[in-house]
């Protein structure tokens, strides 16, 4: 069997598992991982337990850079002779010419990108390369630890199973932490769900985390005047649900799940 020509959610998660394993084996500080499609849109992104919140979007931006520039940051650094940051004027800071940004090539075509943020430039690069290596592995590389992330994965998996069982349209799922509504996990299900769902689910998760009520109850709780203009993430339609994890994790986070789903 030859290697896949596209990145599914399962493949992206397999790549992240391998990156987590690599990061743990090489004692890299906890950070975030992102795998995006060829348009630079997230398929899966995750943050390790105790990973800095800001690493999440940096990882996504690195993956976006690799996919849309169709090359790795290391090469961009060389071909722009260290002046790559100038390109950022065009992209409002999104273009990230810091190592840890690796394209996924299959069948001579760039089909996506991988980003890691949280370590040194060299570590970020090595971890993103571990993701690429996993794309070309038939077996699954598992890791130990990361209890919080594992618990949150189970919740996301339950949501995915629900969607499949009820034959709903594919969704995007975001789980955020309670401190700043910073994402810990984003998954986009296969099957052609528009990439707009990613930001929609993220906004709902943020809204539910910020107000600690379901996103569609925010208006009842705090009144409509909080609406538009106050924060562009605020979304008062249904799909953002606050929840509390049991036992050992409860004091750490009040994660929120944000779904964007439409019935068939």
């Amino acid at each position: 069997m030859s290697a896949p020509r596209t990145i599914t959610l399962d493949v992206a998660r397999k790549m992240i598992d391998a990156m987590i394993r690599y990061a743990r084996d090489n004692r890299v500080l906890p950070g975030s991982f992102a795998v995006v499609d060829e348009g630079g849109h997230v398929i899966a992104a995750e943050r390790r337990d105790n990973g800095l919140p800001a690493t999440f979007d940096i990882a996504i931006d690195k993956a976006w850079t690799a996919a849309t520039m169709k090359t790795s940051a290391r090469v961009l650094e060389v071909i722009t002779r260290g002046q790559g940051w100038r390109l950022n004027v065009k992209y409002g800071g999104r273009l990230t010419i810091i190592p840890g940004s690796v394209p996924v090539v299959s069948g001579n075509k760039v089909i996506g990108g991988i980003g890691h943020s949280g370590g040194s430039a060299e570590e970020d690069e090595a971890i993103a390369q571990a993701g690429l290596s996993a794309f070309y592995r038939e077996d699954h590389i598992d890791f130990t630890g990361e209890d919080m992330l594992r618990s949150l994965r189970r919740i996301a998996d339950a949501a995915i199973s629900h969607v499949i069982e009820k034959k709903l349209r594919p969704v995007a799922i975001t789980i955020v932490d309670e401190w700043g509504g910073w994402p810990v996990l984003i998954y986009r299900m296969d099957g052609g769900g528009p990439y707009g769902y990613i930001e929609a689910s993220r906004d709902r998760a943020w809204t539910a985390a910020a107000f600690r009520v379901p996103s569609d109850a925010v208006v009842n709780e705090v009144g409509i005047n909080y609406g538009v203009g106050w924060n562009e993430r605020l979304t008062v339609t249904a799909g953002g649900v606050p929840f509390r994890l049991q036992a050992q994790c409860s004091q750490w986070v009040l994660p929120v799940i944000g779904l964007r789903m439409i019935r068939k």
Binding site: M1, S2, A3, R21, Y22, D25, N26, R27, A66, T71, S72, R74, V75, V102, P103, V105, S106, G107, N108, A126, A128, Q129, A130, L132, S133, F135, Y136, R137, E138, D139, I141
Partner: protein, 394 residues
């Protein structure tokens, strides 16, 4: 292990340590060692490797070791020379840059391209079409001339691996063949290596030279501090009738539309001609010889030698895997390294040009092991570089 593993074992057999070589096959050299181009980069090729990399260093430092090794162990090493065809000004300019590196390198020992004294004997030279035709009468009319590297050699890497293994065995190395490593445990600095066949081998040092499986073996003890992707190469062999008509390694620089494949044809030690390499990144279990790959190899051969009916003389096509690092940049490099968090463990990833770099590899590993605290002293009974003890095969 195969060529790389036995090179290291042979080098270590000069010292006062007890060594076992473990391999899942019943003989050495049955994987990448047997499915490659057979080239020994003796000069010009080495100039194409990125300066400052281990890839360049081990290859360049191996150049003077090859003739000595061939003499000690009696394996075939034939200087066929390489012809890098010039089709236009762009080709010429690129070769001119390489050529000047060769010239500079022999003057400045500390230059990144340093080639040991005497390696370019005779030196690289440009040849015009007339000389090119004298050297390769069937060459394509589109070649205006060539950069001639008279030093390029071919060998039979399996014979090299066997000779090294037999010499290592004569110097006390034990071979545990038909033993597939499935699990490794580490307690402090003692490794317990478990094989599918039920053997448990205890060791205080491990050298991991498992070829395309190097990452999986390293993961068994959390010692993977590198990443590889499997680069599959398909090669095609043609019979002696064709082999007789080609005497050099002939290649053209790939153009954008040819990427990522290599366009080269060369004779082998046994008089056949070999063409390739059709390259693809894929799963390592993907061992199918694709029709597209074979057609590519025939097309390459015909592009270089249009008058030779290669398609009627195909003997076989086969695939091999190279462990390729830095696939995202294309800047492959070797890994010969002890991971920061796993003591007494050496990972070896050579991949492309691994055969050529193998003589220096053993010395590099010895250096690393000594740095990591292993006290290596020359063996009391002495080391015999020529002795052979057969029966490596189980």
């Amino acid at each position: 292990m195969a060529l790389l593993g036995v090179s290291v074992a042979r080098e270590l057999s000069q010292y006062n340590v007890s060594i076992a070589v473990i391999d899942r096959h019943n003989d050495v050299g049955l994987e990448s060692t047997t499915t490659n181009h057979n080239l020994v980069c003796q000069g010009g090729d080495s100039l194409t490797f990125r300066p400052g990399t281990l890839h360049a260093e081990l290859n360049v430092k191996s150049i003077p070791l090859w003739p000595k090794l061939a003499d000690e162990l009696g394996f075939p090493l034939r200087r066929i020379g390489g012809l890098w065809l010039i089709r236009d000004k762009a080709d010429f300019r690129r070769y001119l840059r390489l050529y000047s590196r060769a010239f500079k390198s022999s003057l400045e020992p500390n230059a990144p391209y340093y080639i040991p004294e005497g390696s370019f004997q005779p030196p690289l030279e440009f040849v015009d079409r007339k000389r090119l035709l004298d050297m390769e009468p069937y060459i394509t009319p589109s070649a205006l001339g060539a950069l001639h590297d008279p030093n390029l050699c071919i060998t039979d890497p399996v014979k090299v691996a066997k000779a090294l293994a037999e010499n290592a065995r004569a110097n006390g190395v034990e071979f545990l063949l038909n033993q597939e490593v499935v699990r490794i445990e580490r307690q402090g600095i003692t490794y317990s290596i478990y094989t599918r066949q039920g053997l448990v081998i205890k060791s205080t040092f491990v050298v991991n030279a498992a070829g395309i499986e190097v990452d999986r073996i390293a993961e068994m003890v959390g010692a993977r501090n590198f990443s590889i992707v499997p680069l599959k190469g398909t090669l095609t062999d043609f019979d002696e009738e064709v082999g007789r008509l080609i005497s050099h390694e002939v290649h053209v620089l790939p153009r954008i539309e040819d990427m990522p494949h290599v366009k080269a044809v060369l004779p082998n030690i046994y008089g056949l001609a070999r063409s390739g390499i059709y390259l693809e990144l894929t799963y390592r279990s993907d061992r199918v010889v694709r029709e597209e790959a074979v057609n590519h190899n025939i097309k390459v051969a015909k592009e270089l030698f249009p008058e030779i009916p290669f398609e009627k003389h195909v003997v076989k096509s086969f695939i091999g895997f190279m462990a390729y690092t830095n696939a995202d940049t294309g800047w492959h490099d070797f890994v010969v390294d002890i991971p920061d968090y796993v003591p007494n463990w050496v990972n070896i990833v050579l991949g492309p040009a691994g055969v050529s770099a193998s003589p220096m590899l053993g010395k590099k590993v010895v250096e690393l092991l000594m740095q990591s605290g292993l006290r290596l002293e020359p063996k009391r009974g002495g080391f015999d570089p020529r002795a052979r003890r057969g029966g490596v095969q189980s």
